[in-house]
Symmetry: C2
Subunit: 388 residues, 2 copies
């Protein structure tokens, strides 16, 4: 049975060209990039080349790129770093109720350390209202963190507009761009963000490497303390193979992004249209147009998302109920709840996220298989009998 | 010219078997280990297998092993985690003046957050005196952190004895075992440590992966906040290829360690003996017997360590003046200063750290090349003329 992977928002396979680029740095040019002998200088050169590529992709300067151990670390660094560095100015942070847990859990931690956090609501599509941001700002506000696009429902937030508000108020702005960089154009100068988090494995780069973009002049305390790597901003031996791999991934998406985004948006729309036609009591979550090109998120009434997943898996189709990072939790998605969806319905969510390898055949296969699965599960479900 | 790598304490090449073990997890079994479909379950299985291997190597239980993004992160997690979780009990931490910067810089950060830190002195060999630890403990002490072996001079600390003192006082004990695990036997139950940090790339595993061992029952606050990975102890998508690679590296060193330690100790002693015979005004740093099997650290009077390094590099020999993590700094090594070595002499330090690929021929080559280099540099050096 051919496996159809439709969970690219959770993780992507590493591109074969990326693996190829990484390989020499495991065994041959393996020097510590902070060493001064030739082995080390080779590694250093490769790291700096990757840094330049990342900077170019997002319109930043090389010295504004800090390599981290992943997207989660980049978010931890941005929030804790700004909070600790600016606490004399104020202790108030503004974020949204639909952020990834890498932001929300950091905010909860900061609350336990004396900071105050405002969690803004979103509308039924998952959009933050810029005016809400404006109203939430106080003279104690030091940071606003709004994700670029939501990882579950795919809604793209009005970051540029909110950044403008932050800038006028003299407040730092961070965005978790883990779902957008490598998928749609992201330019730090157009958005005017001060900090931006990137994860390598979300766009065919390796796991365990990410980036925090930090605009020059931003006051930030280190998160990972230790050696003087990354210009004393991020301690820990440089992960040279992963950084080189990230650089290669950036190069590849830079070439493919425009074409891929269009192709995936076409498949996305075909999938959404087909699902709405073939399954009743189903609805689409997230914004109809301000949406990631690869995201489909639906609620299928009267069935459990997990049962759908397992049935799809037995047909070789990999999907998700939402965030893989929240899988351990039996709670309904905090994102869907924030969109105003009742808990009992939020349990029936199903996310398909498309990627490079998907074709029209994959979409057709889902449209062939899923209606039957839904019908079977509904026939067995007490929910269905009582509520339908 | 054949390159002779003698800086294994900085980083090791990834073992080809480790790379081989990692490869399928980049492109084929690439699923997110937190996903519930088969792709994810495969990845999850591989992660748990690696966890068991690590646990077995150090005599721990699987559930006491937390995978991190490296040794630096493991140290950050241990210190900040214990500090924040136990601050109601007290705010005092005891460590030593020769710790790796991944411990020292965290301590400095914690001082800025209201904690008090005692930095214990060491003797001329770099040994901590257990009685000093005992005397430093107050009713506010919550954590003692003493490295298992020093990364620069190779001295192995009396961790078992200090642990006993910590345990009697009811104080948590952490050890940075980045230089010992995979090189000499380390057993958490013999040492009786509560926390222990491991780095994958120090024993032929990949970069960007480490372990924090946490004894069951230890009160700890998360360091990396976000998703519920690693039983909610460490957020961030599991770096499956790196974790699998670490597991393989553990398996390999488990087989080779005894033999390799003996072989390297023989080469170490041959190198030390040769250097003392062939170069005058040279002395060995660190303890003569309580010493890592692969560490040689010397001070060559009247020359700069950096000049020695560059001259050795031009002969294809990779060595170090001390920690690669401190390379960015022009300051003399804090470890050598703590041993009582005057700053002007500490600048002449040279570290060779041996590894799997080194042979007797490599040692002979160093003994052939270095005396000539030293003689040439001394002839040019004003230090030499004025002081010799």
């Amino acid at each position: 049975m051919r496996r159809i992977y439709l969970d690219y928002a959770a993780t992507t396979p590493t591109h074969p060209e990326v693996v190829k680029a990484m390989l020499p740095y495991f065994t041959d040019a393996f020097g510590n990039a902070s060493s001064i002998y030739s082995y080390g200088r080779e590694a250093r050169g490769a790291v700096e080349e990757a840094r330049t590529k990342v900077a170019e992709l997002i319109g930043a300067r090389s010295e504004e790129i800090i390599f981290t151990g992943g997207g989660t670390e980049a978010d931890n660094y941005a929030l804790k770093g700004v909070a600790y560095a600016n606490e004399r100015k104020g202790n108030h942070i503004i974020t949204t109720s639909i952020e990834h847990r890498a932001v929300l859990e950091v905010c909860k931690f900061l609350e336990s350390r004396g900071f105050k956090v405002t969690y803004l609501p979103v509308d039924e599509y998952g959009l933050v209202t810029p005016d809400d941001v404006k109203r939430a700002i106080t003279d104690k506000t030091i940071l606003i963190s709004v994700m670029h696009a939501n990882n579950e429902v795919g809604t793209i937030e009005p970051v540029e507009e909110i950044c403008k508000i932050a800038r006028e108020a003299g407040v730092y702005f961070h965005t978790d761009a883990v779902q957008t960089v490598g998928h749609i154009p992201v330019n730090v100068d157009e958005l005017k963000v001060d900090l931006l988090a990137i994860s390598g494995h979300k766009f065919y780069g390796p796991n365990g490497v990410g980036v925090l973009y930090v605009r020059k002049g931003t006051k930030l305390v280190s998160f990972m303390h230790g050696g003087g790597q990354e210009r004393k901003c991020r301690a820990g031996t440089e992960n040279v193979p992963a950084i080189v791999g990230l650089g290669k991934a950036v190069e590849l998406v830079g070439q493919e992004m425009g074409k891929e985004a269009g192709r995936q948006a076409y498949l996305r729309d075909k999938l959404i249209k087909g699902l709405l036609e073939k399954i009743d009591h189903i609805r689409v979550n997230g914004h109809p147009t301000k949406r990631l090109p690869n995201n489909v998120n639906v609620i299928v009434d009267f069935v459990e998302g997990e049962s759908l997943l397992l049935s799809l898996d037995s047909e070789g189709i990999c999907a998700s109920t939402g965030s893989a990072c929240g899988m351990a939790s039996p709670e309904p998605s905090h994102v869907l709840l924030a969109l105003g969806i009742p808990p009992e319905q939020a349990h029936g969510s199903l996310r398909f996220t498309l990627g490079r390898a998907n074709t029209e055949t994959d979409v057709e296969r889902v449209l062939e298989v899923l209606p039957t699965i839904v019908a079977r599960l509904r026939a067995m479900s007490p929910l269905s009998k009582s509520q339908k």
